[in-house]
Amino acid sequence: MSDNMSAHYDRPLFGYPMIDTQSLQLRIAGRTLVDQLEWQAKPGECWCVIGRNGAGKTTLLRTLAGLRQPDGGRVRIDGRPLPQWPPLQLARQRAFLPQAKSDAFGYRAIDTVLAARYPFHAGSRWESDSDHEAALAALQAVGAAGLAQRDVRTLSGGERQRVAIASLLAQDAALMLLDEPANALDLAHQASTMALLSRLCREQQKTVLMAVHDLNLVYGIATHALLLMGDGQWQAGPVAGVMTAELLGRCLGHPVELVPHHGRVVYVAAPCA
C-alpha cells in the first residue's frame, strides 16, 4: 500500500462520521476519567452523555469542542483531526453550549444571539439582514422572542439559558455539543427544548451530544447514550442496549429500575434503605 493510499485507508464507504475519537484519554489532576475512548456519532443521531458528578462529562464535551487538548488520542470532526481545522471553518461545523456563566456586561439578548453569526461573515463589521432574521428565528424557536431587547444581566437563570440555546441554534452547525442544556429550565421549557433538539436531528440530520442528569427527560429523544463510569471505563451505543438497569446503576452509583409505564420506560431510582 502506498503512502498516498494509506492516508485514506479508513475512509468509510458512506463518508466520514460527523465526529469520532480514537484512543481518546482524558485526565484531570492525575486521575484518568476516560480511557481509550473509541466512539463515533453520525448525522441524525442524538447522543446523551451520562455520568456522576466529576465523571468527566464537561471535560469530554470541551475536548470534543476543541477547547481543551486531549491527554491522549485524538478527535476528528468530519474526518479531519481537530488541530487541523481553521477556527472559523470549525465554527461553522460545530457549536458548543457551555454551562451558564455570569454576564459581565450589559449586552442585549439579541446581541448575544447575533454574536453566534460571527463565523459566517467574520470579515465584515456589521451583521446583515439575514443574520438578524436568523437570530430572531432562533429566539422564537426557544420561545424567547419577547426577551430580544432585554439586558442579559436582568434575565432569570432559565431565560438566560434559553437565550444561550438560541445562540447555539443561530450558529446553525451540523454538530451540536451541549453541556446540560436543561439546566435552570422549567418543566415546559425542558420538554420543548428536548423536542426541538430531537426535531433538528430527525429533520435536519444534525448530530447532537448533550450531557444530562435527568434520564426520563431524554427518553424518546436520545437515540444513543454514552455512559462514563468515572474510572476510565465507558459504554456507548443505542439507548436500548446501553441504558439498562445494570449499566445505569454502575454508571450512576445508585440502583436504577426501569419501569414500563403506558408504553414507555420510566427510570426510577431505587428507594434509599
Binding site: 457551555p98 454576564d103 449586552y107 454574536a115 465584515s124 463589521r125 451583521e127 446583515s128 439582514d129 436582568t154
Partner: protein
Amino acid sequence: MDTPDKSVKMDDGTGKRHGIGRGRAALIIGALLAASLASLLLAGVAGSVGVPLAELASGLVDILRGEPVSLPAVLLELRLARALAAFATGAALALAGVMMQTLLRNPLADPYVLGVSSGASVGALAAMLVAGAAWMVDAGAFAGAAAISLLLYLLARRDLRGGQAEGRAPLLLLTGVILAAGCSALVTLMLSLAPDTSLRGMVFWLMGDLSGAQAAWLPWLVLLTSLAIAMREARPINLLALHDDAAATLGVRVGALRKGLFVCATLLTASAVTSAGSIGFVGLIVPHGCRFAFGADHRVLLPAATLAGGIFLLLADILARTLLAPQQLPVGAVTALIGVPVFLFQLHQLHRK
C-alpha cells in the same frame, strides 16, 4: 469541506447590510467628534487671559501659517498644545480602560489595576530623586511601566492564552494587584526619603498633572494605532466580553486577541502616564458612562469611549487651570472630584433599573 465557505460568501454578497447599527454608530461618533472640536476651541479661548472669539479665527490662521506673533495667537498655541496633550491622554486612558475591562471580563477594572501606572510612578519618582530633568522623568516613567508590563506578561502568560485552563484562578489580575502593591510600597519609601524641595513635584506627579505636558506625536501614534487595531477586532472583542469559551468555539483566536489587548492596553497606559502622571478615574468612569449611554457593543463603545475620554480630561484640565487661576490644580484631583459623584449616581441609577 469547502462548501460551507462558498455558500457563506454567496450569502454575504447578496445579503443586504443591516443599516440600524451602522447609522446609530455614525450618529454617536459624529456627535462626539463635534463635541471634541468644540472642547478644543473652548480650551483655546478659556483661561486667565481670555481670547475673544473674534480673534480666534485669525489666531488659528497665524498658527497654521507657522508665525504666531500676535498675543492671541501665542496664547492659543500654548493652550492648544496642552489641550491636545490632555485630549490624547484622556482618550488613551479611556480606551485602555475599555480594553482592560474586556480582558479581565470585569467592569470594575481600570488601566491602573494591573500595576502598570504604579511601575511608572516608581520610575518617575526615582528619576526625580536622582536628577529631575523633565525628559528623565518621562523616560523613568515609561521604563517603569514597561518593566512592570514585561514582568506581568512573563508571570501571567498562562492566563493570556485562554481557552485552555478551566476554572483557573484569575492569575493575571492577582499578579497585577500584587505587583501594584509592591510598587506602592516603593513609592511610599521614596516619598519618605525625598528632600522637601522635590516632594511637591512628586506629589503633583502622583496626582496626575498636565501643566508640564507638551504636544508630542508619540502618544497620538500609540493612541491611533491601538484604536485602529481595536476597531478592526471590535466584533471578536464583543465575543470575548460575552464568554471566553463561546468566543473560542465561534472561531476567535482567543489567545492572540487577549495578548493583543494586553499589549495595547499597557502601551496606552504607559504613554498616558508618561505624559501626565497617574490621572485617576478617567479610565474607569468614561468606559462605564459610555456603556451606560451607548450600550456594550464595542463597535460603538471603543471609538465613543476614546473620544469621550479625551473630552472629559480636556474639560477637567480647563477647570483645573481656570477654577482658581492663576493657581493651577492637579488635574487628577479634579477628575476624581467629578468622577466620584458621577460614578455613584450612575451606580444608583443602574440599581434602580
